[in-house]
């Protein structure tokens, strides 16, 4: 019988390092039967799951090395070398799956169960995740919490409603002061957004150098935090400062409400800098494709730059080519594109793959937040909460339901390049700009680096612990 054979093989190796007395023995026999859980055996299924849940819960709360149930132990135990060979995990043969990453394992299992419509398993896993998850715990607990919400919505087909509610809640608690504090604090501790700002500004300044009338079309939700440094550069670098017209296209509803305040500040700041300045906001668009030259106020004698900061991913996948064509029709001198490095687009018909990619990306993001902010930071909490909407939207809502542009089917830089190549040719970043970016990264905690892509690829990548996370590129017609 399978169960007993597993038991035998386990004991022969005898590698359990902590000989914490009888505790081990009493659980050990039961533990053996768990090796073959996945895929689930119909017999004793409930007891296995429930005792496993209890083990995990005990471990994560007691943080104890002696109860060495080394599969599920939260901290890495270097001595349990036989772990991976025993635990075949029914197809999830990931040799690096340590006890640390319980959340990702459970979440992936649950996603698969949902896809397979295995209702009992779904139920068990949702219950377990709910026991262990918390948006106020460590990274694993947080990821479990936010992804649990999405999985639940997917299982109960309530994604749309959940998303709407989350959006409403966020909008209610959103105001200029909180938004400003949040984004400025984030930029202070992490170069996630400032990387794109510095590179894009460098490319824009170089492309528009010498032009007397500038028109920058900013399609982003950065609350114009990119522009003060550009204004300063315009004011100080030349003897004759050009006239700058800034048109901001806002797609997220949340941002819309604070744009009035933002525009006042920007106008004041430009006056302070001594830069002739004009500011316009375009909001209320359902779809970027609705933009036209006239709507944007593009006139003949001005030099246009289009700046897309996390904007293209909000365009429905089928409409992306049209939007890029629309940019081309504006006749810009330069188009700068900044996007996060994740692929939710080519996997959009494969739930499990999409889920795994989503989990991978947000794991990196959450870990980055954890290490960049102080442990009790309120801003970190708010940023994590903002992710919840995106996660629910990607995983639990259908694409064909028409929503107001909050779809976020991200693509990788290489994919965006393929699209942009249809209408533009890529512009490299000059050495000066690259130096600026490197100097920027030096000012943050270690772990960040700049990566220049391989031959065929364009743009620059920001990497966090060697993992590319943000991509920036510049294009000309």
């Amino acid at each position: 019988m399978k169960l007993s054979s597993a038991k035998i093989s386990k004991e022969s190796k005898g590698t359990s390092p902590s000989h914490g007395g009888h505790h081990k023995n009493s659980f050990h026999s039961k533990r053996q039967s768990h090796h073959s859980i996945l895929p689930l055996q119909p017999v004793d299924q409930l007891e296995q799951w429930s005792s496993v849940a209890v083990d995990m819960y005990n471990n994560s709360s007691s943080n104890n090395n002696d109860n060495n149930h080394h599969h599920y132990q939260p901290q890495t135990s270097h001595t349990s070398t036989s772990r991976s060979s025993d635990y075949s995990a029914g197809g999830d043969g990931d040799p690096s799956a340590t006890g640390n990453k319980w959340a990702s394992r459970l979440l992936k299992e649950c996603a698969r169960a949902i896809f397979d419509k295995d209702s009992s398993k779904i139920h068990h896993l949702l219950w377990m995740l709910n026991e262990l998850a918390s948006p106020y715990g460590d990274c694993e607990q947080k990821l479990a919490s936010y992804f649990l919400q999405a999985l639940f919505c997917k299982a109960t087909e309530s994604g749309q409603r959940c998303f709407k509610t989350l959006t409403l809640v966020a909008e209610k608690s959103h105001c200029f002061d909180s938004a400003r504090k949040l984004i400025l604090k984030f930029q202070e501790v992490s170069p996630w957004t400032t990387f794109g700002h510095v590179a894009a500004n460098g490319a824009i300044l170089e492309a528009l150098d010498g032009e007397p009338k500038l028109h920058i079309i900013d399609i982003s939700n950065t609350l114009c935090t990119q522009w003060p440094t550009l204004l300063e550069a315009l004011a100080t670098r030349n003897d004759d400062t050009p006239h700058l017209k800034l048109t901001v296209v806002v797609t997220a509803n949340i941002v819309r409400s604070v744009m009035k305040e933002i525009s006042q500040r920007m106008e004041k700041f430009a006056r302070l800098m001594g830069v002739p300045f004009e500011f316009n906001v375009i909001s209320g668009l359902n779809h970027l494709g609705q933009l036209t030259k006239e709507a944007l106020g593009v006139v003949e004698d001005e030099a246009v730059a289009v700046n897309c900061m996390g904007a293209l991913r909000r365009v429905p996948v089928e409409g992306r080519a049209a939007v890029i064509g629309m940019f081309r029709s504006l006749g810009p001198k330069v188009v700068t594109v900044v996007e996060e490095e994740a692929d939710f687009s080519s996997t959009r018909y494969d739930f499990v793959k999409c889920f795994e990619e989503c989990l991978r990306f947000y794991t990196v993001y959450f870990e980055m937040l954890e290490e960049s902010f102080t442990p009790t930071s309120n801003e970190k909490l708010m940023l994590e909460r903002e992710c919840s909407r995106g996660i629910v939207r990607v995983l639990a809502c259908d694409d064909d339901q028409d929503n107001e542009g909050e779809r976020e089917r991200r693509e990788r830089g290489s994919q965006w390049s393929e699209r942009l190549k249809e209408a533009f040719s890529s512009v490299g970043f000059s050495d000066d700009v690259v130096d600026d970016v490197k100097a920027l990264l030096k000012r943050y905690k270690p772990g960040w680096a700049l990566a220049q892509p391989y031959q065929n690829e364009t743009g620059l990548y920001l990497t966090w612990k060697e993992e590319p996370v943000v991509w920036v590129s510049a294009w000309k017609p």
């Binding site: 959940c162 002061d177 930029q187 409400s257 009035k260 305040e261 490197k438």
Partner: protein, 410 residues
């Protein structure tokens, strides 16, 4: 200056191109003006030597000479002066020649040369090595201080902060008060009037501000013209505010956890909220309005009276602090600054009426001051309802039918 003197071209030893990174091994610094090597220019009063004439002159000033002796005692010796070799440069002309060779070299590199030296920390570029060295010493050590009091070690974060800092409003008002008053006033007006934020909401204390600036002639015409709109509505505004203040007291905390539990409960919350908003704002907002007015309101939507005592206290105190912050500097601020301050108060509530600003400000104080408290409050409600509701809704879902095994566990 006689032409003959200035014909010296600058060519000798001038083209030593500094090689970037040639600092290793470091060159021994040459000490200037040591006892063994006094400078060419000597001070007749104390005998100190200087490398350059202008430094000597600066030094002599410090001796407080009576006027007669301020002139040079010795006759002017024919001196070499240097001109910039770049023909288009202003300093190419003898009348703008410089006194020493080093100076003209530096000028040439700075203005017409390639910037070969780069600071590592901030990537600023320099053409002259000594400039670069001097900068490197201070780079990163300099601290930038914003008017609001915050210190920054990085210039870029300082600039970005400054652009959005509240302290900016006062400064620009003071600086630009005289020159661009007219344009400021009109832009602010058009701005506010377009967005119609203040239809119902002008409280009574605003008119009192304008009494204090009656001494300022020119501004008054503009301000009076514009504010007559506002002042005219003040009486009605006051009434509606008084009423709405009472209504606010009935609403509970904004961040109530019940919002989070909504995904799991299939009640229709949104339509109910629209109805309530209608009631509070009068006829201003229509239901199902997807525009700015609704999205930016911050009044709570649910009727659960989770009475949060601190909320009530904060409303009048916020109101009065806004009031105070307007009153106290009013004597020193110009009319346009006051205008801007007034506009800010209206603007922070974005498009809604003044009531919206109550909610926004309240929420601010909750978030910023009592952040821990409100978060904890939310968290408790969230996790427990999530757990509980999961069980309930799990029961409701027809696809999951092996439920009878679980209820006892809880």
């Amino acid at each position: 200056m006689p032409e003959t003197m200035a014909e010296e071209p600058v060519s000798n030893g001038f083209m030593q191109n500094p090689v970037p990174g040639s600092n290793n091994p470091p060159v021994a610094k040459r000490k200037r003006n040591l006892p063994g090597t006094p400078g060419k220019f000597l001070c007749e009063i104390c005998g100190k030597g200087f490398q350059r004439d202008q430094n000597l002159q600066l030094h002599r000033r410090g001796h407080n000479l009576p006027w007669k002796l301020k002139q040079r005692t010795t006759k002017e010796v024919r001196k070499r002066v240097y001109v910039c070799p770049e023909k288009t440069c202003v300093h190419h002309h003898p009348s703008r020649a410089l006194g020493d060779l080093t100076g003209i070299k530096k000028h040439f590199y700075r203005k017409h040369g390639e910037k070969k030296w780069k600071c590592e920390k901030c990537s600023k570029r320099y053409a002259v090595q000594s400039d670069w060295k001097a900068h490197s010493k201070t780079c990163g050590t300099r601290e930038y201080k914003c008017d609001c009091g915050t210190l920054f070690s990085r210039r870029d974060s300082f600039i970005t902060h400054r652009a959005f800092c509240d302290a900016l409003a006062e400064e620009t008002a003071r600086v630009n008060a005289a020159s661009s008053m007219h344009s400021l006033a009109t832009t602010n007006f058009s701005y506010q009037l377009m967005g119609n934020p203040l239809d119902t909401g002008m409280p009574q204390h605003f008119p009192s501000i304008f009494k204090t600036i009656s001494s300022n002639d020119e501004t008054i015409d503009q301000t009076r013209r514009g504010f007559s709109l506002w002042m005219g509505q003040a009486p009605q505004g006051h009434d509606s505010i008084g009423k709405s203040l009472q209504e606010i007291q009935q609403f509970g905390s904004l961040n109530s956890g019940s919002m989070y539990s909504d995904p799991l409960v299939s009640t229709s919350n949104p339509p109910a909220s629209d109805y309530q908003l209608n009631w509070v704002f009068g006829n201003k907002v229509s239901s199902g309005n997807a525009e700015d007015q609704l999205t930016s309101t911050s009044l709570p939507l649910n009727n659960n009276v989770k009475e949060n005592g601190t909320q009530l206290v904060s409303i009048p105190s916020l109101f009065s602090t806004q009031h105070q912050s307007q009153q106290t500097p009013s004597f020193s601020m110009s009319a346009t600054a006051l205008l801007q301050k007034a506009a800010q108060i209206g603007a922070t509530s974005t498009d809604t009426s003044f009531l919206g600003s109550f909610g926004t400000k309240c929420n601010n104080s909750q978030i910023q001051d009592g952040s821990k408290y409100s978060d904890l409050y939310v968290s408790n409600t969230q996790t427990t309802t999530l757990g509980r509701d999961m069980e309930n809704s799990a029961n409701d879902i027809s696809t999951l039918n092996q439920l009878q095994m679980y209820p006892a566990k809880r």
